[in-house]
């Protein structure tokens, strides 16, 4: 089966074609507005203001990806239906509905978070086994989710205030580093001492699996106000360590509670190498039989390939939706 996937839930406009043969996925086309070289409209430079103009992007991307106008060769259409920003989601959802209706092809509604989780099913010979514990960390999300089987999710915990990626961006801003802040902090942290400053590890003893990063951000601000001379590298390294320690500790707590066969790390923040390495080694130390999975670096951010994979899995269970009635859901839940 070959599926066309459309993702417009936040800043990125993305289109992908992915096929599944005997349970193996092959990425045939994948294109992102942030990487596309579409010169016609903006004369070569894509202004920042266009980032969320999905309506202007989506057809040039479809053309660039070589999607045939009659849908020839496409067996189904997958679209991100939520969660996200309503006017952004609507562009993708309405296009998906229109194409499915016009081409008379089945339509699959994918949850954006489900897409991130399925990013680890790509480019691997050993996909996660169930139950799988999923830590999803991005600019807008910080969630621990138990996946009991394909399509079966249980929300274990989430952030009560700021998402982890947001904390990275805002601390970067406090430090005068450019946006997006995650990679900048990681780079600065390489030169710094992670034990230099004792920032809080929020909610470690909260007794649940929720997170909170707002207080950590404030702790960095207060530190910057108090200290006369500061080291951006030491602050970056110490802040990053506080976030990583929090994730490792909460994930180990979740493992104790749910006894998973595998752990999945996904989302934009999963590109953080210290987080990947620390989480993997801590899990190995706790129980060597639990496998660890993280996506290719190219698939950590928002993309349509992950929506295609989640969509193919749903299509294989015939979980289709009616193109006449599907509505974008900004608060869509996994479970």
């Amino acid at each position: 089966m070959r599926i066309l996937a459309i993702e417009t839930s936040c800043d990125e406009t993305a289109v992908a074609v992915v096929s599944m043969v005997n349970g193996v996925f092959a990425i045939e086309k994948s294109i992102l507005s942030s990487q596309a070289k579409i010169h016609a409209q903006y004369g070569g430079v894509v202004p920042e203001v266009a980032a969320r103009e999905h309506a202007a992007w989506i057809f040039p991307l479809m053309t660039e990806a070589g999607i045939p106008h009659d849908g020839a060769g496409i067996d189904a259409v997958a679209v991100t239906a939520g969660p996200g920003l309503v006017p952004a989601l609507r562009i993708g959802v309405e296009l998906g509905k229109t194409l499915a209706w016009a081409w008379k092809k089945p339509l699959v509604a994918v949850n954006h978070l489900e897409g991130h989780i399925y990013s680890v099913w790509l480019n691997t010979d050993h996909p996660p086994s169930f139950p799988a514990l999923s830590l999803l960390v991005s600019g807008g999300h910080t969630e621990l989710i138990l996946m009991k089987d394909h399509g079966q999710y249980e929300l274990l915990g989430m952030t009560r205030d700021d998402a982890a990626g947001e904390a990275f961006d805002k601390v970067a801003k406090l430090l005068g580093l450019p946006y997006p802040g995650g990679p900048e902090i990681s780079r600065a942290a390489l030169e710094g001492d992670a034990t230099a400053i004792k920032f809080p590890r929020p909610m470690l003893d909260s007794g649940d699996l929720d997170f909170s990063f707002s207080g950590l951000k404030t702790a960095v601000r207060v530190y910057l106000e108090k200290e006369e001379s500061v080291s951006v590298s030491d602050i970056s390294a110490s802040f990053q360590q506080a976030v990583v320690d929090t994730f490792v500790s909460k994930t180990l707590q979740a493992i104790e509670k749910t006894k998973p066969a595998s752990v999945i790390l996904s989302g934009g923040v999963s590109a953080n190498r210290v987080l990947r390495a620390s989480l993997e080694s801590s899990i190995q130390l706790l129980d060597g039989s639990i496998t660890f999975h993280a996506p290719d670096l190219s698939l950590t951010g928002d993309n349509a390939v992950m929506i295609a994979v989640a969509g193919l899995m749903k299509a294989s269970r015939a979980e289709y939706v009616d193109p006449l009635t599907l509505v974008a859901d900004p608060n869509m839940r996994l479970a």
Binding site: P87, E166, P330, N331
Partner: protein, 139 residues
Amino acid sequence: MMHTTHNEEETKKVAEAFAMTLKGGEVIFLFGDLGMGKTTFVRGAAEYFGFLDPVRSPSFTIVNRYLINTPGLRQILHVDFYRIEDPSEIWPLALEEEVGQPDTMTFIEWPEKAEGNTHPATHKIYFTSTDGVHHISIQ
């Protein structure tokens, strides 16, 4: 009016007292630097209206909606223009459908990034801090 708070609970108390005066249709601008308690203030207001789910920062999502169950009032719109780099990015968000409507109370963080490209404010609240003490000025 000027309030002084020392922790999140006190900030939420000030927000509750402010929320008590709201009737619907208000557009409240929240001014203040990172970590000053703007989102905590909105959390206090949402809790006053019986919204018990976590109130999260809308910095990434830009708009969060909190549905409430008070006669004549449908929702709190929690808007954050932190990631907006140019006022022309506001119109694709289609906020005018909801902001200022009589069944909606809108709180806007980083309104200065919209430079007049959004609904005018009915209230302006300023968040500052000195030596760990927070000052909340409601105008």
